[in-house]
Symmetry: C2
Subunit: 251 residues, 2 copies
């Protein structure tokens, strides 16, 4: 059996009790920090779980994934994944390969920034449109997604590239404005270190957020829809020190 | 301090280790089953946590929420919430009230159907557009949201009403087709009992899903975008017994 266990957002204690039990019952435990990360080191995770943990590299997840699947025919293999395991498309591919080859799979879900962003910002989940990743390699996609979401008055969650190094909100806004300079007039919310006790959440126009000091990664960015629900507006002022200008967006 | 703790998707073991500790350290523990539910009874939760737990009714969350906020001035109050605590807008309102009155708040995130739907179906997170609720009270909103998402080629996650009783997928499709009969030609994925070991995931045209036996609630419904990524298609065939017709949607 191949079990994917979500680690949640911040540290090893964000794992679920069910996930913890799966780790304890496993024959082999792996962790994957390529698609995202948590703040706990592998060594500290080994101490917490009382288990040896092997780190999977990108190649282990992609071209060498059949080795994991093969091993899971005989053994209980657990793969620990930051956040919720299947938000990164890589893991769906491994699960698909396993199921096609008759290996049972199981998912133990974890907290994801996809829903946590609502708690961090007060923005309403039902108002989020498509999401996208801002990568170091310049791409039109995130700008196109923001524009498409604007057409249906939806917020956009932008994931920031992790490789070769974790992108910061300032870098991401730079990348977006390289493609479409007018995008920096829009309002956004920058979030740093979601799930930690020193998370930073700040709402302003992107041109302002670009120079704001969010501190250490991981960072993520939301571009706001054309309009806000009045409760979203109140929350952004209270939780994200939004400027009073955003009250004009309330419909 | 007022701490919102996510219970995750299915049973009490879906709580995080961090959440469990918060419950153990709390002066008073409440649970809220109005916005969603998990399968564990309050009595069994009390046994698991070794704590007395009071159930909050709708009125406690809305007009009487200031009682909770007041108590949290002096005491550590934990509110347990199914899923991720802030996906339901009610809880953001209580958090806002607390912060405005100088009461510290904390969120311990939990797994949510919002991201788990990717693991259950193999659909890509970045392709989901806005979400909506299909309520017993007939409303155009979910149909309008599906149509808006179609314009930008996005999937739609539809939450199903819980009151006065949990809506089933068949009921939801009925409600949608009362507003727009042609919607039943679209493809969707019905999901029952997400997070449990007997979850059912089935993809077909809505007119077919309407009569499919998903078993007991909770149910949720995804309406597919106009197109699919080839990996989404493969996953739907493997994980959701999709008909081969959906291969024509791959772009």
């Amino acid at each position: 059996m191949l079990t994917f266990v979500g680690l949640g957002l911040w540290d090893v204690e964000d794992i679920s009790v069910k996930g913890l039990k799966a780790v304890q019952d496993a024959d082999e435990v792996y962790v994957e920090f390529y698609t995202s990360r948590i703040s706990t080191s592998v060594r500290d995770m080994e101490r917490f779980f009382g288990r040896k943990i092997k780190t999977l590299e990108r190649g282990d997840l992609e071209e060498r994934s059949s080795k994991l699947v093969e091993a899971a025919k005989e053994k209980n293999i657990v793969i620990l994944v930051p956040g919720d395991p299947m938000v990164a498309t890589t893991h769906s591919a491994i699960r698909l390969e396993a199921e096609k080859r008759g290996v049972k799979t199981r998912i133990i879900y974890g907290a994801s920034i996809v829903s946590a962003v609502c708690g961090l910002t007060g923005l309403h989940n039902y108002k989020f449109g498509k999401s996208a990743t801002v990568s170091w390699h310049t791409s039109r996609t995130p700008v196109d997604v923001v524009r498409a979401n604007m057409e249906i008055d939806a917020h956009t969650l932008l994931f920031l590239d992790l490789h070769p190094e974790p992108m910061r909100i300032g870098d991401a806004i730079e990348k977006l404005s390289d493609i479409d300079a007018s995008i920096t007039d829009l309002f956004g919310v920058g979030i740093a270190r979601a799930g930690s006790s020193d998370a930073v959440v700040k709402c302003d126009r992107l041109e302002k957020l670009r120079h704001y000091d969010f501190g250490e990664p991981l960072h993520i960015l939301v571009v706001l829809a054309r309009t806000l629900h009045f409760m979203e507006c109140e929350c952004l002022i209270e939780f994200a020190s939004a400027p009073s200008e955003i009250e004009e967006m309330v419909r």
